[in-house]
């Protein structure tokens, strides 16, 4: 097998291997870039209820039981907190209740991690640390190989020595333009 054939075989097989990792980083990259417009980590739902709260003693087991019954929540309260004088928070196992006594209003907030996107974002941001970091480095080295080996996939003027070479130049020009324009 010549070096040319070996390079093509390696490029193909490493390319196959990199599909999964590339999708992980590409999908989570878009998700994280736009996290201020769309929370890709969690789905937060809030439902507002009108409940008589004014002049009631909120810090009693009796009130808490009544409230859970009224809201049809089969859950237990694990923590309580007054963030300010107008808001009382009750933390349940699966949701959080915001009580506004002066407005006789209760908001039930539920936070659900988004399926797969939360995990992909966690991997992208290296929350797993250690082994994942080394695996990501390995993947980066494979990407470098894929980039460089692609230059030698086709010989002669049908390859990068021909008009397609402009594509390579364009790929370098785009980041160079950003560096220049934003004075990075």
């Amino acid at each position: 097998m010549s070096w040319f054939q070996l390079n093509r075989s390696l490029h193909r097989d490493i390319g196959y291997f990199c599909i999964g990792m590339t999708l992980v980083f590409a999908i989570s990259g878009i998700a994280l870039n736009h996290i201020h417009q769309f929370n890709s980590n969690y789905q937060v739902s809030r439902i507002t209820h009108s409940v008589q709260l004014e002049n009631l003693d909120l810090e009693t087991p009796y009130f808490e039981n009544q409230l859970l019954q009224k809201l049809a929540l089969d859950d237990t309260i694990k923590a309580r907190f007054w963030p300010d004088q107008t808001t009382y928070k009750l933390f349940l196992q699966t949701s959080t209740l915001y009580l506004y006594p002066s407005q006789n209003k209760v908001i039930v907030e539920q936070v659900e991690p988004r399926f797969l996107l939360r995990q992909l974002n966690a991997l992208h941001l290296n929350e797993a640390r250690a082994a994942w970091m080394w695996f990501s480095d390995f993947y980066a080295i494979l990407l470098i190989y894929l980039a460089l080996s692609s230059l030698f996939m086709i010989k002669g003027k049908r390859g990068v020595l021909g008009p397609r070479g402009w594509l390579v130049i364009a790929g370098f020009a785009a980041p160079a333009a950003f560096i220049y324009v934003y004075s990075l």
């Binding site: 995990q119 966690a122 991997l123």
Partner: protein
């Protein structure tokens, strides 16, 4: 066949990474240095250099990046924000209501009058004429327990 093996390997890696996302960060908090949040804030200057561990119910978490969480104090209407650099630790939003222990130091950040009143408005408090200071707890290790 090869593609199947590769996809299965990637799925295993994803599952493994999920297991690795634990409830302790940097080895977990040092519970032998426990100080109440109210005491820490009453002697704020001292705890800017002295390492301590605080404990409290997690009342809020940064929705986007998980880069901060608010801990309830032992004193009513008081809380303290535990803040990390983006990515250093990622606190899950689902941790609200759980108990967190954080070991680190306190940072005192003076606010402008405008920032002070913006903060007070968000807390449904009346505006003031003098700027306040913001207390942030910068952790080196954290433990989150149910």
């Amino acid at each position: 066949m090869k593609t199947g093996v590769i996809l299965a390997t990637m799925a295993c890696v994803l599952m493994f990474s999920q297991l690795a996302i634990g409830k302790t960060y940097n080895g977990g908090a040092d519970k032998s240095k426990l100080v109440s949040i109210s005491q820490l804030l009453s002697e704020a200057q001292r705890y800017t250099t002295q390492t301590s561990t605080i404990q409290g119910t997690i009342t809020r978490v940064c929705k986007k990046r998980g880069c901060w969480m608010q801990l309830a104090s032992d004193k009513k209407f008081q809380s303290l924000r535990v803040k990390v650099r983006d990515g250093d630790m990622v606190f899950p939003m689902t941790a609200q209501g759980k108990t967190a222990y954080a070991t680190g130091t306190l940072k005192i950040k003076p606010l402008t009058l405008e920032q002070t009143n913006q903060k007070r408005t968000a807390q449904n408090l009346s505006p003031v004429d003098t700027p306040e200071v913001l207390h942030l707890f910068i952790p080196t290790a954290v433990t989150i327990e149910d």
